[in-house]
Symmetry: C2
Subunit: 272 residues, 2 copies
């Protein structure tokens, strides 16, 4: 999917919401766990079916499926196939944090872009250029580089000065010179909104995937004010705030309401 | 598995060889691809059965299985189970380069330490302390942090000065203060052997996983001279040099010969 298509979807849906799927058997409604043979799939399917029209992107956190072994991995594949075949307009992200030497990264690209139908995958930049470029050899597919993450540990290395510049800025700057850099996006935590204006100077055109609004305390308005560009350029993720809005039989309606609130806030920001 | 057990195995087998399993359908013997229903499994099983007595560790590169979708992931699980049940003395590493915010890293730990029987997993340190510590809450399990990797891209960030110190040294130093740091190991590429003496000053006790001998051009002798500590503290990986030593019906015997050469070199170094 091209970034132009994502922008068109944002305009159409008046939303730059990314729905994050991190399903946790301990948190999903107990009636579903008790009655379903595939509770992870059925839970995520119900949520996506109910909120797909309010979001432009879906981000699947692969760890929450891998934790359940082969059956979990099969569910991950089934879910990705379901979403892409029913809602091809959704930008489908594998939040997988992969990245390795070139010939290994090529295998991960094959896994997520060929064996599975993802449009993008999140990548840790630690191993540098040749660990990322293999993902960018796929037309209209995207690598979303970790830049400044939302967690506490972001302070350990990302915010440390590197050649007189903090590491995450080096990542932004340098990666812009890599082959097919126009297919790069970046993860920037909403809890780090004060850095967004600086980040926009370094990567004015790129889409930013922004987790951390909601449960982690980031502000949607701050993110939009400092992070939006002329194509909006933002995919703001919400996971727990939507997934676990309700815990009863009507969990999917509760999710719809929670997503509706976010979409309305986004529509107001887009209009302003 | 404790590091003491690994040291005992090194003494017993007179080897600090880690066998790397990165099986590639384009490179494994064509008769196997033609005749086997599970060529990846059968190929790896034959190699492990033939060389297990010459190595103390096996490292499975998960990307080479994930590339084949659900069937590939099932083979990864089956292979890990096979190795751990038949050769429990081998230190079994998932070369998976995972790492995410805390509650996600916990899921990856569950995937590799509970759903699968790995003793260790490789981790990218970019997201800092809270992305790594969840892996260290498992007794006698290990996180192997990327420090200085063997690829060209290592120069992009790892070797950049960070607060007047190169990034990989910050990773080594800071991680030593994390909870259960005694369960940390580090990836240091053999192609960077000139850094090993410095690295040993920062992490004198830790095991180092060293890829890059052989195909990538690193020298075993340099690695040993600059990297060994009193418990040896090295797991030197060889993948392609052993896996693809032969391409005919006798590929497993060719692998045995290649592993034998490496084990002999290691025995000589250990004796000297």
């Amino acid at each position: 999917m091209t970034t132009q298509t994502i922008f068109e979807q944002i305009q159409l849906k008046k939303s730059f919401l990314c729905l994050g799927l991190d399903p946790d058997l301990d948190k999903i409604p107990s009636h579903l766990v008790a009655s379903s043979e595939e509770p992870l799939f059925d839970f995520c399917k119900a949520i996506v079916d109910n909120v797909h029209h309010l979001c432009v992107s879906v981000k699947i956190n692969t760890a929450f499926f891998e934790a359940y072994g082969v059956a979990g991995f099969a569910t991950l594949n089934k879910l990705a196939d379901y979403i892409k075949s029913h809602y091809p307009e959704l930008f489908l992200i594998a939040d997988a944090k992969r990245g390795d030497i070139g010939n290994t990264s090529l295998r991960y690209a094959k896994a997520f872009f060929e064996a599975m139908p993802f449009d993008a995958i999140t990548i840790a930049p630690y191993m540098g250029k040749d660990s990322v470029e293999p993902f960018l050899t796929y037309q209209d597919k995207h690598a979303i580089l970790l830049a400044l993450t939302s967690n506490e540990g972001a302070a350990d290395f990302q915010l440390k000065a590197n050649d007189k510049e903090v590491l995450y800025k080096q990542v932004l700057k340098q990666s812009q010179n890599w082959n097919n850099a126009s297919q790069l996006m970046y993860v920037v935590g909403a809890t780090k909104a004060e850095h967004l204006s600086e980040i926009r100077k370094l990567v004015p055109e790129s889409f930013l995937l922004v987790p951390g609004v909601g449960a982690q305390g980031g502000s949607l308005e701050d993110v939009y004010t400092h992070g939006a560009n002329e194509n909006i350029g933002l995919l703001v993720n919400s996971s727990r705030g939507i997934l676990y809005a309700g815990s009863g039989e009507d969990f999917a309606e509760s999710a719809l309401e929670a997503a509706n609130v976010l979409q309305q806030q986004m529509e107001n920001l887009l209009r302003a």
